[in-house]
């Protein structure tokens, strides 16, 4: 394990050093590092990796958003994929029917999804645990069925020819170009997620996760904060949905938003480690790469995936994030002890 994590240790140290200058510096550096990624991937002679990266980045946005509700605030939702659908459909309809440019349609879709987040989150005010899971499941599935049966929302043929984003005469009309868009969005998403975690709101969420009663005793407005968590995560889902819809070939269909996609998303969050922001990122990357590399074994792919899910929950409930955490904590602890013994000597 140590050997495996050794490269990360250097990276973590490097970025921690940068963070001492200003919080945003490591992000800017990372952003610059990531900009030439399509060229690097292209150099391998396989542009599909760029497409794969785009898909993963969209999933990262989703899972980081889901983590806010689930990891930070401790609310169980199975309706996140419905919000993703709302974002995708709203943005594409605005672009197709009203000719809105992507830059107007996407923010509008994010706002609409945020409002929908209130509805999906509403049950959380009264319900907990299993009941909340089922209520959100019902809401999420209802969204999908509504799309499936309403011709204006795509119905069975789906929404076609959603125009790609455009800046001046530069059109993001293939996935190589689209990478810059989704990468930027994902970076902003992750950064904001960290900011939220650090803010008073983030602390309120975590207080609710740890102990609802104690949180309310400490003056935290529990229902409002729960709703807020749902809304924030809905904003992420809306952005991810809009980005997915406008990505060439610009096609969405209700079966992109089924319960299987929701489970994949949950798997990403759980595999990465619930409550770890990086967990959502790592989970999205690992799950999607495993999925992509097992495509040719389609007849047993569900079986293996299912088993991974079951065994993961049984044997590694804290996810990869938990393992890394343990490693980092141990490392810091060792360091602390060394410092202590140095001081004693």
């Amino acid at each position: 394990m140590n050997l495996l994590l050794a490269p990360f240790r250097g990276l973590v140290d490097f970025f921690q050093a940068l963070a001492r200058i200003h919080r945003i510096v490591p992000w800017l550096v990372a952003y610059v590092f990531l900009l030439p990624l399509p060229e690097i991937l292209s150099a391998t002679g396989n542009d599909y990796y760029i497409y794969l990266t785009n898909r993963i980045l969209i999933f990262i946005l989703l899972s980081v958003g889901l983590n806010i509700v689930k990891g930070f605030c401790g609310q169980v939702t199975v309706g996140h994929i419905g919000l993703y659908a709302i974002g995708a459909v709203t943005s594409s309809l605005l672009a197709i029917n009203y000719g809105w440019p992507f830059w107007a349609a996407m923010p509008a879709a994010v706002v609409v999804t945020g409002l929908a987040g209130i509805i999906i989150g509403l049950p959380s005010v009264r319900l907990e645990g299993a009941y909340l899971a089922l209520a959100t499941l019902g809401l999420g599935e209802s969204v999908r069925i509504m799309i499936a049966v309403t011709p204006a929302l795509g119905s069975s043929t789906g929404i076609m020819l959603i125009p790609p984003p455009q800046v001046g005469s530069f059109v993001f009309d293939d996935f190589q170009k689209y990478y810059y868009l989704v990468m930027t969005a994902a970076m902003i998403g992750i950064y904001l997620s960290f900011s939220i975690l650090r803010s008073a709101t983030g602390r309120a969420f975590m207080a609710i996760r740890e102990d609802v009663i104690a949180a309310s005793v400490h003056g935290i407005n529990v229902p409002a904060n729960k709703l807020l968590a749902f809304v924030i995560s809905a904003l992420y889902a809306g952005a991810a949905g809009a980005l997915f819809a406008h990505m060439p070939p610009g096609f969405i269909h209700h079966n992109n938003f089924t319960i299987i996609e929701m489970v994949t998303l949950l798997l990403m969050v759980v595999m990465g480690g619930i409550g770890h922001i990086w967990g959502g990122v790592i989970g999205a990357i690992i799950v999607y790469i495993i999925y992509d590399n097992t495509l040719e074994f389609y007849h047993i792919q569900p079986l293996t995936f299912g088993l991974i899910m079951v065994l993961l929950v049984v044997f590694m409930p804290q996810g990869i994030g938990g393992v890394i955490d343990r490693y980092l904590v141990t490392k810091r602890f060792v360091k602390l002890r060394e410092e202590k013994s140095d001081g004693a000597a």
């Binding site: 689930k70 990891g71 401790g74 169980v76 199975v78 509403l122 049950p123 009264r126 319900l127 907990e128 645990g129 299993a130 009941y131 909340l132 899971a133 089922l134 209520a135 499941l137 019902g138 809401l139 599935e141 209802s142 069925i145 509504m146 049966v149 309403t150 996760r209 319960i259 489970v263 949950l266 798997l267 969050v269 759980v270 619930i274 409550g275 007849h299 047993i300 569900p302 079986l303 995936f305 299912g306 088993l307 991974i308 899910m309 079951v310 993961l312 929950v313 049984v314 409930p317």
Partner: protein, 300 residues
């Protein structure tokens, strides 16, 4: 669509006959929830397995239909016990609950459902299998005809409920099952073998789902993907009736059945599957413990 009472009666009748089936599956989900503290997302696949077992017994081995129901129930019950012992047991030991760690239960259930579905696909293929059971001419209520199989289903479903009710209320083991469902630690202290009872609960719930599968099989044919829709309806039924409540599950099932049929008939047929969810959400918002829930069980 013109309104007339014959049609209304027909729609309610359709709702009732399918509703009892939702009810038995819901009962299993409800039992598992109170026994193991998990919402069993793989129960739809258990139902599917039950139907396939029934099909194998009845069609391929020539066992008479009523006996096929019983055999399928036994087999599926055993399958359930194995699943519970091998996988879920480790999780319940690690502590249930639905917050951060409890997400695991949902993932685990889904994972299991994918695994079971894939196993069924590998063993029986993706084609839907016909499950013909000839029971003779349908019942006629004036202009409405109701296939005998639906009538039979309703009768058997009610019979199963009655047997279960008797078992839970009047026998010592049933009492122990209820004690385990209510509070495992105390049940332990009363000298009840809790792990055994949990297996029993799980097996029982799976057997009920299998019964539903074999009953519905002849009407809707048997297919690998049949579980999902039933699961959704049964979840709705279980919640509407109140998790853990036996009459609640059946009333919930009937309500979901009637509600969706009337909705499909008079509001819009496209949205049929939404009505169950609508009812679920309505009930949850108004009365979180369901119509028959005795206590609101909030998991920490």
């Amino acid at each position: 669509m013109d309104f007339d009472f014959t049609s209304l009666f027909a729609f309610i009748l359709f709702g009732l006959t399918i509703g009892v089936v939702y009810g038995i599956v819901a009962l299993g989900i409800s039992l598992i929830y109170s026994g193991l503290d998990i919402v069993h997302f793989a129960h739809g696949e258990i139902y599917m397995f039950g139907a396939f077992f029934g099909l194998v017994f009845s069609e391929h081995m020539g066992v008479p239909y009523p006996l096929a129901i019983l055999s399928a129930m036994v087999c599926t019950g055993l399958l359930g016990i194995v699943i519970e012992r091998v996988f879920y047991r480790r999780l319940t030991r690690a502590g249930g609950g639905y917050t951060v760690a409890g997400m695991g239960m949902i993932i685990c259930g889904f994972g299991m459902s994918v695994v079971l579905q894939n196993i069924a696909y590998l063993s029986w293929g993706a084609d839907a299998e016909p499950f013909p059971v000839d029971l003779g001419e349908p019942f006629q209520f004036g202009d409405i005809s109701l296939p005998k199989s639906y009538g039979l289903t309703a009768v058997i479903a009610l019979l199963l409920m009655a047997v279960l009710h008797f078992f839970l209320k009047k026998t010592k083991i049933g009492l122990a099952v209820r004690a385990v469902a209510a509070n495992k630690d105390i049940a332990f202290l009363m000298g009840i073998n809790v792990p055994l009872m949990i297996s029993l609960i799980f097996g029982l719930a799976c057997a009920l789902a299998a019964a539903a599968g074999v009953l519905i099989g002849p009407m809707q044919s048997v297919q690998v993907e049949m579980g999902y829709l039933m699961l959704m309806k049964a979840f709705a039924a279980a919640v509407v009736g109140g998790f853990g409540s036996l009459p609640g599950a059946i009333v919930g099932g009937l309500l979901v059945g009637i509600f969706e049929n009337l909705g499909a008939a008079y509001i819009s047929p496209n949205h049929k599957d939404i009505y169950a969810f609508l009812l679920l959400i309505l009930v949850l918002m108004v009365r979180p413990s369901g119509l028959f829930g005795v206590e609101v069980r909030v998991k920490a």
